[in-house]
């Protein structure tokens, strides 16, 4: 566990739009250690979403080096990148991204499908994971039978089911009322206490303040990096 989850050095990302080069990241360096609890804060257009996609292995940097779990993303094929996402990273999205016609249990088991694990074992592991996020009584419910908070818990269980070392949460409380949002953050923090590194992307200062470390982004650069205050 001595390998950092993420090591980014001078990472840039430039989009080509109608022949124009639009720099979204202009040189970001960042290390995420195992067990970190980090918040990335910034206004829309600051580059925080682009950074999160890069950290999650959904995208590749234009320049600089990015190591995820010790592996250089630049040298990986799309298939290897998919395997990396599957094995080391869990995603939690603002809008949950659950499959609508699929039960909570099968939504949670989805990442295991791409590991070639059979249905029975997927369901057993998914059920255990749902139990861990407090949804043992919602195993066979479909998303439309669940509240927003419950849906986000299903999504967190899905992110955890492969046993990742890093959990990336993009505005995980953005679609929830504040009480529910707090309970989701509490859940994430308890996971962090068990050793999962968490990177939280948010524009909400109050949410960010709960993290151990905050990174403020502006115009594609990290402008401020502060240790979190525990108040």
């Amino acid at each position: 566990m001595t390998t950092p989850a993420i090591v980014a050095t001078g990472v840039t990302r430039v989009y080509q739009l109608d022949g124009f080069s639009v720099p979204a990241l202009r040189g970001v360096s960042l290390t995420v250690e195992p067990g970190d609890y980090l918040a990335i804060v910034g206004t829309s257009g600051s580059g925080k979403s682009t950074l999160m996609h890069l950290l999650g292995g959904l995208d590749r940097p234009t320049g600089g080096t990015l190591l995820i779990g010790g592996r250089d993303v630049a040298g990986l094929t799309p298939n290897e990148l998919a395997e990396l996402r599957n094995s080391t990273i869990g995603f939690v999205f603002q809008s949950f991204h659950l499959l609508a016609r699929t039960t909570a249990q099968d939504n949670v088991g989805l990442p295991l499908v791409y590991r070639g694990i059979g249905r029975r074992e997927r369901r057993a592991r998914a059920t255990a994971m749902l139990d861990r996020v407090g949804l043992a009584h919602r195993v066979t419910h479909r998303p439309n039978q669940l509240s927003g908070g419950e849906q986000q818990r299903v999504a967190i269980a899905r992110a955890l089911v492969t046993g990742p070392s890093l959990l990336l949460a993009d505005e995980p409380t953005g679609n929830l009322d504040s009480a529910t949002g707090r309970s989701i953050l509490t859940l994430l923090e308890s996971l962090n206490a068990e050793g999962v590194a968490i990177v939280l992307v948010t524009h909400d200062r109050e949410v960010a303040a709960r993290a151990d470390r905050q990174i403020l982004m502006k115009d594609g650069l990290i402008v401020e990096s502060v240790p979190g205050t525990a108040d």
């Binding site: 998919a82 991204h97 791409y114």
Partner: protein
Amino acid sequence: MRVAEAWRVALDALRANRMRSLLTMLGVVIGVAAVVALVAIGTGTKQQIERQVEGLGSNLLIVVPGRLEAGAAPTSSPLTLDDADAVSRVVGDRSRVAVTIASGETVRAGSRSGFASMQGVLETTPTVFVRELNRGAYLTRTDVSTGRRVAVLGAGVARTLFGDRDPIGRQITIGGVRFRVIGAFEPLGQSLGVDRDNEVHVPVTAAQRLLGTDRIDGLAIRAPDRDRIDQLGRDVVATLADRHPDTDFSAVTQEQILGVLGDILGVLTGVLAAIAGISLLVGGVGVSNIMLVSVRERTREIGLRKAVGARPRDIGVQFLLEAVLLTTTGGVLGMLLGAGTALLVDGLSPVPAALTWWSMALAFGVSAGVGIIFGVVPAQRAGRLDPVVALRTE
């Protein structure tokens, strides 16, 4: 991703849009059904004709004046019974040679009458052709040599003139001339479009007297063995050409007749199947179209699956299987519909239809192929989607 899982996902996706899946499938169903039914009808017709030609008897050689070529003018026959005797000498066995002179005549028994095909023949006819008697006896050699006015009725003629009564020994008139019924045939049905049950066989000599001629229309020979049939045909034609230098003669075997008819029907069946195949192609375009819509609709799902570890290939296979499932299900339904249509046509109409395994297998294979061909572009598009863009799609 395991194959079983991929099938399950594809099936779920199709179930989620039942109506759309069914309508898309319908294009393939109709195409496959059309191929199967049309090939069945073509095959059935071909088999029926083969049975009819073979039903005439085996090793048969038919000798007619004129050339058997497309566009050849019909030739009036110069043949007489003397020619038949000469041919008998070539064959070496009189009982293997049959002659005919045919004419449509009105037949009458008491108040009942009908129109029948009078056939002037030798007593050898039932041994040369396959012809079974139902009752009574056939013509004898004496009947032929003396021109006796006796007749053997086809099953249809017997029914028309006598209903269920026994016709044996009764008097009829053919073209106004009195004949005595001595036998009746078993029903035979149609052969090459001719109703064989509407024949009346009389001694060729009696027929010639009735028609005021000494000619015959043609000869048929039952060859002693298959290997000699072509040589025999050439010998017979040569003999006849010697005797009638102004006329061409042709000798054809059943194989030749079957070959020509088979070629014609084969082309016809092929053309019909090709037309049906076009509708299958149109069905395939429908599948492609709906799969592209499906990829667009499920962009977010694709993004999510990629985020949790699906490789481009996993996504591509999932959509390809969906297309293949769509077309093969349509293929199976189309096969059933086509087979049902063929059986219905066979049972309820005079058109024969015969289902063949190869046409069903072909139609199924083609429908699966259509799924792959028309599913591959949407599947590739899905597999290549950028997960970042896909996740952002609303």
